[in-house]
Every structure is written in structure tokens, then in C-alpha cells.
Symmetry: C2
Subunit: 311 residues, 2 copies
Amino acid sequence: MAGPAFEKIAIMGAGLIGSSIAHAAREAGAARHVVLYDSSEDVRTRAAGLGLGDVVGTPAEACQDAGAIFLCVPVGAIAETTQAIAPHMSRGAILTDVGSVKESALSAMQDHCPAGVHLIPGHPIAGTEKSGPEAGFATLFRNAWHILTPLPAQEETYNSAVDRLAGFWEMLGAKVEIMDAARHDRVLAITSHLPHLIAYNIVSTAYDMESVGEGEVVKYSAGGFRDFTRIAASDPVMWRDVFLNNKDAVLETLGRFSEDLAALQRAIRWGDGDTLMREFERARGIRKAIIEAGQDSAVANFGRNSDETET
Amino acid sequence: MAGPAFEKIAIMGAGLIGSSIAHAAREAGAARHVVLYDSSEDVRTRAAGLGLGDVVGTPAEACQDAGAIFLCVPVGAIAETTQAIAPHMSRGAILTDVGSVKESALSAMQDHCPAGVHLIPGHPIAGTEKSGPEAGFATLFRNAWHILTPLPAQEETYNSAVDRLAGFWEMLGAKVEIMDAARHDRVLAITSHLPHLIAYNIVSTAYDMESVGEGEVVKYSAGGFRDFTRIAASDPVMWRDVFLNNKDAVLETLGRFSEDLAALQRAIRWGDGDTLMREFERARGIRKAIIEAGQDSAVANFGRNSDETET
């Protein structure tokens, strides 16, 4: 068994991801000392009650002597959080985040990150639709991808900091992937951001259909609709920030989606069953690829606990 | 324990739903004699191997003396199947179906159903994304809604046939609901048909995004996309027929969806975070209603077995 990757880590933001890092790091022995801070006093109190680690009252206490600082806040709060902790980070410390958009997260951190701190943006491809410190659990990252988007062409101490951070995530059970931030944002626009936008939208459309009372939408939701409502239950602040901060890639992807949808709409209107069949067969093929690649629920984690924990 | 609802039932079509009815009816003792027919010889052979009941080689053998005949074929095949069995149905028998669109299913059956046979369209709100006789299982309908759309204002023997069919489904564990066919089609357009169309479409869009290799879409599908691919793995023929046969309600619902999506697109383009928040918060509310109504996965069945059986 290797020793801990870090003597002390600071987790800024004790929501689903922050509290899961705390649980997982303690269980794996990946950090000797886990300290959490949240800007909400209510969340701090709840986190303290869960025994996630040392919950402290100021960013300064959290970051002092921490080998790695994890920003687990919505993308829109990264800039101000970095600014708040900037005076308290040690030279040689790692500053990372878990934001779903990497170019703007990087830029928000860069604006305030002091020299001598290793800035290494990151994004765990794991989550559930739940929010808050109570939602976290130790196995959230197990077998999930963790994408790091390090700065290009850095000196050796930076590269070894990347290795150390990757080692930490591997101790938590994640598979680490290195990727360019811009590419990350384009890939995630289709694999995550657009699906969430679509899910929010269809739920909203259903809500408004006065010809179908809300009671019936709920009652017969097992026909497919229910699966969308789970995704659409995700944290609204987090997702607002994703769409505001990955605007170009999301709009480009959404444009393609709308074009394709118009073609299906036309096929339905004109009774063109061959076009419908062709598109539906193709969609089936990609599902098969996901199962064959082991990317189905046995491996990846989105919503993994929802059946067990939802009440 | 009550006796069987029917001495003999005939199941026309041994796919996911047909084979699940056979499993469930035998397990519940809801029919003394379960006979299956499928137009595909290959499916008949597989169904016989699964011990689902007596698999016979002609529609005539299946329907002779059957108290209830279940058409478990895609909506587009209901007319010809009804035509094929019309000479073989007994006076007083019940003819029902499991199609996802009820107005056109009713009309297809009415065109060929002989006098003296009680025509009672039906639709179980249950299913998985799998197809074929091997996909069926006895608990598929348990706690799921089963919608019957009987003809209006019939004589007493018809009404008692409806009661008998409802009793059969209740023995299989379903909760029976009576509804007007047109209303069914409007409700299901939003709770089932549109969600499937959207899922097929987003999977198709992802497939085409040459800027993101297919490998990466699969690899990072846990971010939300994967949930759509499961729905989009559903039987293409069945769904083609749904969209061709519920055209008006689907196009109306799709029109609203596209309007709403355009509003979200505009909010993203203009950085209007308040609009995004408002819509996302609303979507969260309807999820809560579904959980509170017990319509989450503990009760309803779509995709219920996918984690256990998918390989």
C-alpha cells in the first residue's frame, strides 16, 4: 500500500462532489488530513455532522499548508473562490477544480492564482442528480474517468505535480485522462451539456402542456419521460454556469441537434418510415458500442446510486 | 386465490411484451392455457425453447377457442394481423392489443374485427429497451399502469368483458386505468413518444459529430449521454410505427418542445442566467412530484432490468 498522496488537502465547497472527495480520500487513505470549507454556514454545519473531515470557518484555515486545494464550486464561483484563497495557498501547492467546463475554469483560476502554485484544472465524469453534502459517497469516482487539462509545456516540478494529482485520483478509483481544455469542452458539450439541456427542456415542455394535466404526466412518466426528469433534477446553479461558460460549444452542438430534429419532424409529417428506421437503427448501434466498451452503468457512475438512495 | 381469468389466451407476437404476458400469466395462473404465435419461424423456435407456452404454427390454431387474443405486434402490423385471425376468433372472445398508439390501433382492429368479438384496445406502460422473446420476464407489468381504451356506450356483455380483461391485467400485477383513446395518444405523446424521439435524435447527432470522434462520445458517455442511448436502443420498427401513427399529437408536442428549446438557446446566447435558472428550477419540481407519487423506478418499470440483464 502506498502512503497518502498528500499530507493535507483542502476541499472548497462541500456539495455532492466535494463531500464525495472527502469520503473517498479518507477511505482510500489518499490524504492524511482532509479539511473542508463551504461559504454557506448551513452547509458547513451539515458537513461537520457527517464527519467528512475537519470543517473550518475560513478559507485561510482550509488552505494553509494544504498540498492540494480542490475547488468544488459551480464554475461561476471559481473566480471569486480563487481570489479568496489566493493569499493563503502555499508555494508548490496544487490548485485544481472539478468544473464541467475547463477553458473558462482555467481562465478564472489563472486570473487570481499566485505564482508558485501549480494550476491543474480537472473534471470527474461522475455525479448523480443529487446535491449537498449528504449526497456524497466514497465510491462515486470508482472506475469513472477523471479528466485533467494541464497547462502546456511547463517545467519539471509542474509535471511532477500533475503526476501527484493523477495518483491521488487513481487512489480514489478513477481512471485519469489528460486532455486539452478546449477539446474537453467540445467533447463534453455533446456527451453531457446538451443531454442536460434537452432533459431540462422536455421536462419544461411537459410542465406547460395544459392539454395534459400535470397529474397525468407524472402518472404515466414510466413511458420514457421519467428518465429525463432524473437528469433534469441536477443542481440548477451548476448547470446554469455550465451553459453560460461553454456557450460556443453548446450552441454549435445544439444547432446540429435542432437540424437533425427538423429532419425527423419532416419524416414524421410526410410519413417517411424509411428515414425514421435508418436513424433509429443507427442510434441502436452506438448503444451497443457503449455496452461493449464497458461504459454502461457497471463502470460509469452517473446516477448510479439513484435507485438505492432516492426516497 | 381466484381462478384463471381465461381458460385459454392467444398471444400474437412473441417479442418483449408478448413473452412477458406469457411468463406473467403462467406465473399468476391468470390463464389455464397460454398459446403463442409469431409470424417469424425463428422467433417461434426461440419462444418454444423458452417454454413460454404452446407455440403454434398458424394463427388459426392460436385463436381457436381463445377467450382473449392479445395482439403484441408493432402498431403498423395490427391491421394485417387482425385480418389474418378474423375467421378464427370465437364469438364472445376479447380482442385486445398492447400498442403505444390507441386511435390508430383501434381503427386498424375495427376494420377487420368480426361482429360478436369484444374489441378492447389496451396499452401497458411498461417495457425495457430490449426486444425479442428472450427479453420478456414475469414481473414486467407489476405495479405498472395498464391503460384500456374501451369503445364508448356498449351493451352489458361488452362491459363485463372489459371487467374480465381488467381483472386479467390486475392478476399480472398491473394497475388498470380506463381512458379515451384520443386522450391516451395526447398524454403518451409527451410522456413517451417525444422522449423517445429526442433520445434517438441526440444519439444520432452525437454519431455525426466529426469534431468529436465516436470513441470519445462512448468513452465519456457517463456525463448524461449514456442515459439517452438506453432509451434509443428500443425497437426501431415499433417506434417507427408509433411516430407514423400518432403523427398529429407528436408534431404538436414536438412544436412546443422546439419553441421552448429556442428560448433556452436564446438565453444561452445572450448570457441570460436568470431564465436558465427559472427553467431548471421548474424541471426539478416535476421530478420531485414523480418521486412523491411513487412513480420512480421502485414502482414503474421502464428499463427496470437493464442493469441486471445487460451484458
